[in-house]
């Protein structure tokens, strides 16, 4: 019999952890980049590139998760 915790299997809990953990990590990275931008360590155009990479990376991660969820993978 499969062991569950609050009705969730180990696989489901690992999936939640990956989804929300990586999401929280990306937000934390954005906070770090924001601090760098405030201290002008990256330059203004560098700040734009960093934020764009992080923002669209996060968007891609969310889109991938949504497509997987829609297709039931």
């Amino acid at each position: 019999m499969e062991v569950t915790l609050f009705g969730y299997t180990e696989g489901q809990i690992a999936q939640f952890g990956l989804t929300f953990g990586v999401g929280a990590f990306i937000l934390y990275m954005m906070f770090i980049v924001f601090n760098l931008a405030l201290e002008s360590k990256a330059g203004k155009f560098g700040t734009f590139i960093l934020f764009l990479v992080l923002s669209l990376g996060m968007l891609g991660f969310v889109a991938k998760s949504v497509i997987q969820w829609v297709l039931g993978i």
Partner: protein, 266 residues
Amino acid sequence: MPTSPVKFPSNPSAAPHAVDWLSPLRWLALGWADLRQNPVPGLIHGVLLTAFGALLFWAARDKFWLLAGAFSGFLIVAPILATGLYRVSRACSTGHCVGMREVVSLWRSGDRRLVVFGLLLGLAGTGWVLTSAGLITLWSPVPIAKPVDFLRHVVLVRELGLFEAWLLLGVLLAAPVFASSVVALPMLVDTSVPVSMAVMASWRAVADHPIPMTLWAVTIVVLVGLGMATALLGLVVLIPLIAHASWHAYCDLTERPPSSALPEMA
């Protein structure tokens, strides 16, 4: 230091807004107002561009690299194809309502600067497809021949890796293209500055407002993604909305009073 290489006539009654984090939403609202005020040219653009995208999709549906090349090129060159709508927005801000005749006159003018810029964008699109093909051919465990192969073996792979690297490469290549065109294209339509000055003004505007411009780029990507997710149908409205909003972004970023007369070289 001025952001723009052109001098705009002062018009205190219609001063541009300062650019901040909420500016992308304001630009969208103004773009929507322009589209509602004069919907015909925008919707004609939306229908034609969407139909062209659908035709590309149909023609290359089973040939992934042809589809990727055609679609990437289409998305990168689409801003050039929508330049006529900047003129429509410019006319809206002065209380005039122009039709497709004004747009056609822009195209018939054969402005070499727009042709050069379009060719440069096409070159950037080709570069993206080649590097993207190289990355995926090298890293993918199976050959990618059809769109469904790309979805299955690149996008939907559970492990982090190829998709994320492909995305990173795409963003790093898209960032300079966006920075070069976001202000430059409306400026080429609005003024007589050469391409190099318009591109420099565009980079300076992005560097002056990195976070609002990031939000604007993300907004455009989300809207285009939503349009594509609706079997391209949403693009009929979203393409003209983005084009009109881009005009208002240009006005704020270059401190151009929206309802001013044609500017002069500084």
